[in-house]
Symmetry: C2
Subunit: 223 residues, 2 copies
């Protein structure tokens, strides 16, 4: 039953075993960037009133900082400021069907980031953070849409999460059945999984003569 | 820029506003079940050494209990036993492209469950939990694969998370632009997103004459 993921060189099963980025080889940092850059949604973990709270939210990366944003009224974002947080990005790549129930698993890539979050107050950095979040959602979108006004910015909180401690886990490949099970008459293999985007649906007030822009068309099809 | 999701009747922005299931109408409980039953991966939040840790893992539901499992050596599963946890399931349904940067958002469904987790020790319930996890991953799979041995069961921890407190959030529909932006020459709309499964890839040791079973074929295509 799904042992923990097979560990590649970056693997870590808990905070005690995470590695600090400055000590990492460039290739390992690139693996972390690759997972973070491929996602759309992260899960922010923060402690509120002594209990863990895990909420999904958009994010973006700029260098060695993740930016998250939310309404100024967003309780989790506000609670995270100055506190230890955990930000996790998970990409499901496949369902791993073994001959035994025990060896069923998933192929996936995940990045788990531990940091003290910082509420961004500098206006230039706040804009950079929002730019990163928007571009992560839809690359090329920032330049195409109306920029935020001061009033809109005042309603938005931007949280910075430094990529100081992180671990990356990857499981890929076929099932890892026990040798004595290989002859069982049970189909085994992998069912690939991915997040896909369908044909863009224009808002009803969009002029039907307006072409779907390239940065929207680029999303369609498998990622 | 993605205000928080538009709230349907179940919405809750934080633990203070979650509702207790016994007080809910049946339709609300069904909404919770629908989100949980549609996912493959949950994010488990637990406090370890005073800091939040968020890890992706498989899960399954049986009635009003979520079951999670992991290796007996899994630190997060062990740390969760008897402790407050948060289990979140998020389904991304679309990218919402507004005319203004500010109103960009995502369509999604999410369920956030707060509970005190319980390590399952009863052998019959442990098997039920593993059955639920396996069937969530691939419906119909449990009966097709070799059942777990006592030795394998001894290596597996099963965690029960009661659906006592939970909130469901759903955002769907078109962008919610400000009226004064509707005339801007900016394409706006929704790009639908979904997790899709590709053609099954048989393990190299599977007899080429063996047909792909129906429960595997049923996964292929959009969910």
């Amino acid at each position: 039953m799904s042992a923990p993921a097979h560990s590649l060189q970056l693997s870590s099963t808990g905070r005690t075993r995470v590695r600090r980025l400055p000590e990492r080889a460039r290739s390992e940092r690139d693996d972390l960037y690759a997972v973070l850059d491929a996602g759309k949604v992260c899960h922010l973990g923060v402690i509120i009133d002594g209990s863990p709270v895990v909420l999904p939210t958009g994010y973006g990366r700029r260098g060695d900082t993740l930016y998250l944003h939310g309404s100024s009224a967003n309780r989790a974002i506000r609670a995270a400021a100055g506190q230890d947080v955990c930000v996790t990005v998970t990409l499901l790549d496949g369902l791993v069907c073994a001959r035994s129930v025990f060896h069923h698993s998933m192929n996936y890539r995940s990045a788990v980031v531990f940091a003290t979050a910082r509420m961004v107050t500098d206006e230039a950095e706040r804009l950079e953070g929002l730019h990163a979040v928007t571009e992560q959602l839809i690359p090329g979108r920032w330049a195409a849409a109306r920029p935020p006004t001061k009033k809109e910015l005042a309603k938005t909180s931007v949280l910075a999460v430094p990529l100081a401690e992180a671990s990356v886990k990857v499981r890929n490949g076929p099932p890892a059945d026990d040798e004595e099970d290989l002859g069982l008459p049970v189909w085994a293999g992998v069912v690939p999984a991915e997040l896909t985007f369908g044909p863009p649906q224009a808002d009803r007030l969009v002029d039907p003569a307006m072409a779907v822009p390239d940065h929207i068309r680029a999303l369609t099809g498998p990622r």
